[in-house]
Symmetry: none
Subunit: 412 residues, 2 copies
C-alpha cells in the first residue's frame, strides 16, 4: 500500500478567507487507486519553507503532490522549490514554450514576458498537459519517490488529476482496490437520515460509511477496500442494497458528482418535456442552475424573474386583485405565477417561487423565511409552503432545491 | 513579530469528504493580534506522526495550535502526543474531573469511564474552559514557545479561541499591527495586471503584496506589519497610492469582501436607477448575482431568460426578421434584447447577453466562445463583442462579469 502527502502552496490559503479544496479532489482520486493520504499541508509562497517541507515529505511517504505556485509571477515559487528539494536544476522547455505560444495565439492574446517562467521544468520531469490554463503540471520520479506539481486553480487541477496523474501513477503502485458507492438525497435532514440508516452501516467497518450534509443536500458514501473488485462489489451490495431500499425515491442519484439540476434536466429530456420558471425570491437561481450544463436548451425554455408586484402583473399576468388581496407571498400568487410562466412560455411545466428570503421582511401570517413553491403542469397546479429561516443564502438555495425536487417527483 | 502553525488532527479530515475549517477561525483571530500563520497541517489519529509534527513545528515557530483529538476514545491521541513532544508527562487533574462530573450531573447523564481520559493535562498546562463540550483546552508555555490544545468541534473551538486563547496570548506578544489595503479589479488579465504594478510593489518587502485571480476577477492585497497603525498606514499609502493611480477605474472596489454585483447595486441605489436583464447564454446568472444581497428590490426590477428564438421574440419583442437575418448571436439581437427588456420592465437600464457558451455550438463568423453583451439606457444602446473560449462555466461567469462592469462604468 502506497501513501502520500499533499502540499497546497499559496499565501492566500493561509488567510481566513481561503481554503484549500484541491486536496479533496486529490485525496478522492488517490484513494480510488489504493493510495492513503497521511498528511496535508498549506504553506505560503516562501521558497525556503517550501523547499524544506517538500524534502521532509519525500522522506516520509512515497508520493508527494504539490498544488499551486506555478503561475507566471515572482511569488510563484513551486518550480524553484521542487528543483531545490531534489537538488536538480530547472530546464527551459522549447516544447512547452511552443504549446504556450499556441495557446495565446488561439485566444488572440499577446503572451506576456513573465509567462515564459511557466515553460521551465524540473530536470527529468515529464510535463503534464493542462487543458485549461497556462501552467503545465510536472511528474517527477526520483528513485523510489514520486513528486508531482500541479497548478492551483481547481478547474485546471481536477481534470489533470483524473486524466493525467492517476493513469501515470496506477502502473507504479501495488495492487489494491477501493470502491465507493454513493447516494445523494434531498428532502430530509441529516440526523433523520442517520437515524434511519445507522442501524445498517454501523455494523460494518469495511465498507466505511460517511454521511455528509450540504444545504438541502445529503451524501452517503460507502467505501470498501479489498484485494479484488468483486470482493469490494459484494461488500458494497451487502450494505448498500438495504440502505437503497430504506431511502427509496429520496435518493435522487447514485452518482456523487451529479447535482439535482442535472437529474431534473435528464428526466425532462427523457420525457421530451420543457420547463419555464417564474422566480421572485430565488432571483433567477433556478434558471441559472437548470442552464448550467451543456444541452439545457433541449428542455429549458424561459424564465421570468419578477421582483415587484407590478412586474408579476405585467410579465406573468398575475391579477392585481389577487396581489392586493392575498399579498405577493401567498399560495394563490405562487400558483398564478407558475401558470403565467407556463402559458406565456408554452413550456410543459413551470416552477414558481415567492417568499421572504430574509434577513428582513415577512408578515405575521408569513414570517421571514416563508416560501411558496408552485408547479404548474397540464393537469394541475400544485403549491407547497415551506419555512427555511432568515439566512438569505440558505433560503434561496433551499428554495431552488425543493422546487427542483418537486419537479423531479412529478417526472418520476 | 510572532508566528504560528496550526495542526488539525483527525483521520476523517484526510478523507475526500471533510475539510478543516477551524484553521480559518484560528487564523482570523491570530492575524488580528499580529500573529502570522506560516503553515497549516492536517494529520491523522497517529500518535507517532503527530508527536513528530508537533516537535518540528515547535522548532520552526513561536506558537503551535492543535485542534481535535481530545475526545474520550482510544484514537484521540493529541494529549499523549503533545506530552511526548515536550518530554513531559500527563497528570490527572482532580479539578477537571470535578468539572466534568458536574457537567454530566447537570445533563443528568452518567459519565462513561473513558471520559476520564479527558481529565488528564500535560504537566504544567493551564486548563482552558470549554463551555460547549467535555474536553478542556490546554495552554502550555515551554520556554519561549507556546503550545495550545483545542477540541475539534467548531462550536466548541470557536468561542474558546475568541474568549480564552486570544486574551491569554495577547499579553505575551510583542506589540505589532498588521494592516491591509486591497483592490479588486476586473476587465484585465492577471499577467497584464502584474506587469503593470510589479515595478511598484516589488521594491517593497513591507508591505508584502499578493495578486490573486478568480474568473474575471483580480485581487491585489498589500499587507503592512509595523509597530504602529500610523506607520502601517504610511507604508500602505506609499505603495498603494501609485498602484491606485495606475489602475484607475479598473478598480471597482477597495473592499476585499465586496463583489462586483454589490458595487453595481450600490451605484444603482445611489442614482435611484433600476435594472432589468435579458439573458440568453448566462441563463439568469446576472439576475441571480444582482439579487444575492438583501435590499436588491431597491434597484432590481425583472429578468427575462430567453433561450430560444421564439422566446426572444415573444418575451422581448425581438423581430423575427432580425433573428432570421442576423442570427440570435449577433450585435443587433443583443441590442434588441436589451431594449426589449428595458421597455417591457420599465427599468432605467437593461443588460443583455447572447452567445455560444460552449462546449459546442458556434458559427464561422461567431465561433464557440463568442458573446455579445448589450446595455440599453435612455440615451443609447451599446453592444460589445467578446470571446472567452469554450469552457461553459468560465464563459457564463466572464459574461456576467463584463456585463456588470459595463453597467458600472456607465454609472460612474
Amino acid at each position: 500500500m502506497a501513501n502520500a502527502e499533499i502540499i497546497a502552496i499559496g499565501s492566500e490559503l493561509l488567510t481566513p478567507q481561503r481554503i484549500d479544496t484541491n486536496s479533496l479532489t486529490i485525496t478522492e482520486q488517490l484513494n480510488a487507486i489504493g493510495v492513503e493520504v497521511h498528511r496535508k499541508q498549506v504553506i505560503g509562497d516562501d521558497r525556503a519553507r517550501l523547499t524544506e517541507a517538500i524534502r521532509e515529505a519525500l522522506n516520509r511517504v512515497d508520493i508527494v503532490i504539490l498544488s499551486g505556485g506555478l503561475g507566471p509571477t515572482e511569488d510563484d515559487v513551486t518550480r524553484d522549490a521542487a528543483a531545490a528539494a531534489l537538488g536538480r536544476s530547472l530546464v527551459h522547455s522549447l516544447e512547452q514554450e511552443a504549446i504556450l505560444q499556441a495557446r495565446f495565439d488561439r485566444l488572440r492574446r499577446k503572451m506576456a514576458e513573465n509567462n515564459r517562467r511557466q515553460t521551465y521544468l524540473v530536470e527529468g520531469a515529464e510535463a503534464v498537459p493542462n487543458g485549461n490554463g497556462t501552467a503545465p503540471g510536472q511528474f517527477i520520479q526520483a528513485g523510489e519517490k514520486i513528486l508531482i506539481l500541479l497548478p492551483g486553480p481547481p478547474r485546471e487541477l481536477k481534470p489533470m488529476v483524473i486524466n493525467e496523474i492517476i493513469p501515470r501513477l496506477k502502473p507504479l503502485l501495488p495492487k489494491e482496490v477501493i470502491k465507493v458507492r454513493s447516494f445523494r438525497i434531498t428532502g430530509m435532514g441529516e440526523s433523520d437520515l442517520d437515524a434511519l440508516i445507522a442501524p445498517i452501516y454501523s455494523r460494518y467497518e469495511n465498507p466505511s460509511t460517511t454521511v455528509l450534509a450540504g444545504v438541502g443536500d445529503l451524501w452517503v458514501h460507502l467505501r470498501a477496500r479489498c484485494r479484488t473488485g468483486a470482493e469490494a462489489d459484494a461488500l458494497l451490495g451487502e450494505v448498500g442494497d438495504p440502505i437503497a431500499a430504506l431511502l427509496g425515491d429520496r435518493v435522487y442519484t447514485t452518482d456523487a458528482e451529479e447535482p439535482l439540476e442535472q437529474v431534473v434536466g435528464n428526466l425532462l429530456r427523457k420525457h421530451k418535456a420543457t420547463v419555464a420558471t417564474a422566480e421572485s425570491c430565488t432571483g433567477g437561481l433556478i434558471a441559472t442552475r437548470l442552464t448550467e450544463y451543456p444541452g439545457s436548451s433541449d428542455f429549458f425554455l424561459a424564465s421570468f424573474v419578477t421582483y415587484s408586484d407590478a412586474q408579476k402583473a405585467k410579465l406573468l399576468g398575475v391579477k392585481g386583485e389577487l396581489l392586493a388581496q392575498c399579498g405577493a407571498v401567498s399560495e394563490s400568487v405562487a400558483a398564478a405565477m407558475a401558470e403565467g410562466a407556463r402559458s406565456r412560455s408554452g413550456a410543459t411545466y413551470a416552477l414558481s417561487t415567492t417568499g421572504f428570503s430574509g434577513p428582513d421582511g415577512g408578515t405575521e401570517q408569513n414570517p421571514v423565511g416563508t416560501v411558496y413553491i408552485g408547479l404548474a403542469s397540464e393537469d394541475s397546479t400544485k403549491v407547497i409552503r415551506l419555512h427555511f429561516g432568515s439566512d438569505r443564502y440558505r433560503h434561496r438555495l433551499l428554495s431552488t432545491q425543493f422546487a427542483l425536487d418537486m419537479l423531479r417527483r412529478k417526472l418520476l
